[in-house]
Structures are given as structure tokens and as C-alpha cells.
């Protein structure tokens, strides 16, 4: 049971992130909610590769014991990089919008509809 806690935490983080996205009206907070979802996915990825008692997967440091899975860590790093690019892009959109519209409220950001 105790070893499954990271997986539950990952699911919980995703749900918290979705709740933030849905309930908050400030665009910056919505982007933060998206970052929370991403953090949850990252946690799930890292947790799938963990072996209890494993060492860091560096070839020259490894004694002949078990190493944790390196693939998921590479995937997590990639996703962090992608996440930074996404967050930066979305935040710069929010900057432009708040300057042009004078508000960051998502319910005011409705010039495109029907």
C-alpha cells in the first residue's frame, strides 16, 4: 500500500490541477493549474521507474546492485523542458492579452464566440 502512494499523489495532483483550471478565473492561475497537471504526470512517470533500494543510473557509479529506470527519468526531463516552453508561451500570450484587453479574467476574454 505504502509503495502506491506516489501513484495516488500523481492522480491527485492532476485532479487538483484540473480543479484549479476549471474554478479559477484568472488566466495566470489557469496556466498554473496546467503546470500542476504537468507536475502530476511527471510524478507518475518518475514513480513508474522507481525500484526500492535502487541507485542513480550512472554507469561508472553503479555497484552491481539495482538501478532505478533511466528511461522514465529522461522522459520526465523532456516533459519538464516541454512544460517550460509551453508555460512560457502561454504566459507571454497572457501578457499580451492583459495589455490589449486590460484584464486577465477568462470570462472577459470572449471576443471570439458563436
Amino acid at each position: 500500500m505504502i509503495e502506491n502512494i506516489p501513484f495516488f499523489c500523481a492522480g491527485l495532483l492532476v485532479l487538483i490541477g484540473l480543479a484549479v483550471i476549471v474554478t479559477k478565473r484568472d488566466l495566470i492561475k489557469m496556466v498554473m493549474g496546467l503546470a500542476l497537471v504537468e507536475a502530476g504526470v511527471n510524478l507518475l512517470l518518475v514513480a513508474t521507474g522507481y525500484i526500492s533500494g535502487g541507485v542513480a543510473p550512472i554507469f561508472t557509479n553503479a555497484p552491481s546492485t539495482e538501478m532505478v529506470m533511466a528511461t522514465v527519468q529522461a522522459m520526465t526531463l523532456t516533459n519538464i523542458v516541454i512544460g517550460i516552453a509551453t508555460t512560457a508561451l502561454l504566459l507571454s500570450f497572457v501578457m499580451v492579452i492583459s495589455r490589449k484587453y486590460g484584464t486577465r479574467d477568462v470570462t472577459e476574454m470572449r471576443r471570439l464566440k458563436e
Binding site: 484540473l18 483550471i21 476549471v22 478565473r25 489557469m30 477568462v106 470570462t107 476574454m109 470572449r110 471576443r111 471570439l112 464566440k113 458563436e114
Partner: protein
């Protein structure tokens, strides 16, 4: 290169045959048009278009804009459009909610819950 017939399992479709038929039909149309009066009315009073004795409208008034077309259709479907158009709120939160709702429906349909 001659187009082969496309068999759809139940019927067939050959564009070349269709194009030949179209060409023949156009030939007939052209022939019939030739039987008509070749002259067009000249300048002056006879050249003007006759709209029940009213003056010809200016170019701005003479064109029917996009919104006026299919007015009857949208009017007849008013009940439908009154429900569907307001769904497109333009609000990002609603978009996310629709996504999550579809996701929940798929969950039930696929049989997770």
C-alpha cells in the same frame, strides 16, 4: 491514362463517363441557346433592367449580404439554434469543461466505471 471505374462495393463511379455525359449535356444546352434571339437590347431606355418600374438600386443596395441569405432556414430552425449557438460561449473554462465531460462519458462508455 484512362480512368478506371471506382468500385465502392455496391456501385461504381467512373468520372470519365460522367465527364463525357456532361460534355454532351453542355453541347445540347449550347445548341438550344443558339436557337434563341442573339441580339441584346442596345443603349438607352431598352437597355435598362426593368424592376416593376422602380429605379435600379445602387450597387450597395443591390447586393444581398451574407446574413440575409437563408434567413428562412435559420428562422425555421430557431429552436435548434437557440440551444446550440449559446453553447459556443468563447470562454476557455467552458471549453475545458466540455473536454472533461466528454472524457467522463468515454470513461463510462468504455467501461472503466
Amino acid at each position: 491514362m484512362i480512368a478506371e471505374t471506382l468500385y465502392t462495393g455496391f456501385g461504381a463511379w467512373n468520372p470519365i463517363v460522367w465527364l463525357i455525359a456532361l460534355a454532351v449535356a453542355l453541347l445540347f444546352a449550347w445548341f438550344i441557346q443558339r436557337l434563341g434571339e442573339p441580339d441584346i437590347p442596345g443603349e438607352g431606355e431598352s437597355g435598362k433592367s426593368y424592376i416593376s418600374g422602380n429605379d435600379e438600386p445602387s450597387p450597395e443596395d443591390g447586393h444581398i449580404g451574407g446574413s440575409n441569405l437563408y434567413w428562412g432556414f435559420t428562422e425555421a430552425m430557431k429552436g435548434y439554434y437557440a440551444r446550440v449557438v449559446p453553447l459556443h460561449t468563447g470562454c476557455l473554462t467552458d471549453y475545458v469543461l466540455w473536454f472533461l465531460g466528454t472524457f467522463a462519458l468515454l470513461f463510462i462508455l468504455i467501461g472503466v466505471i
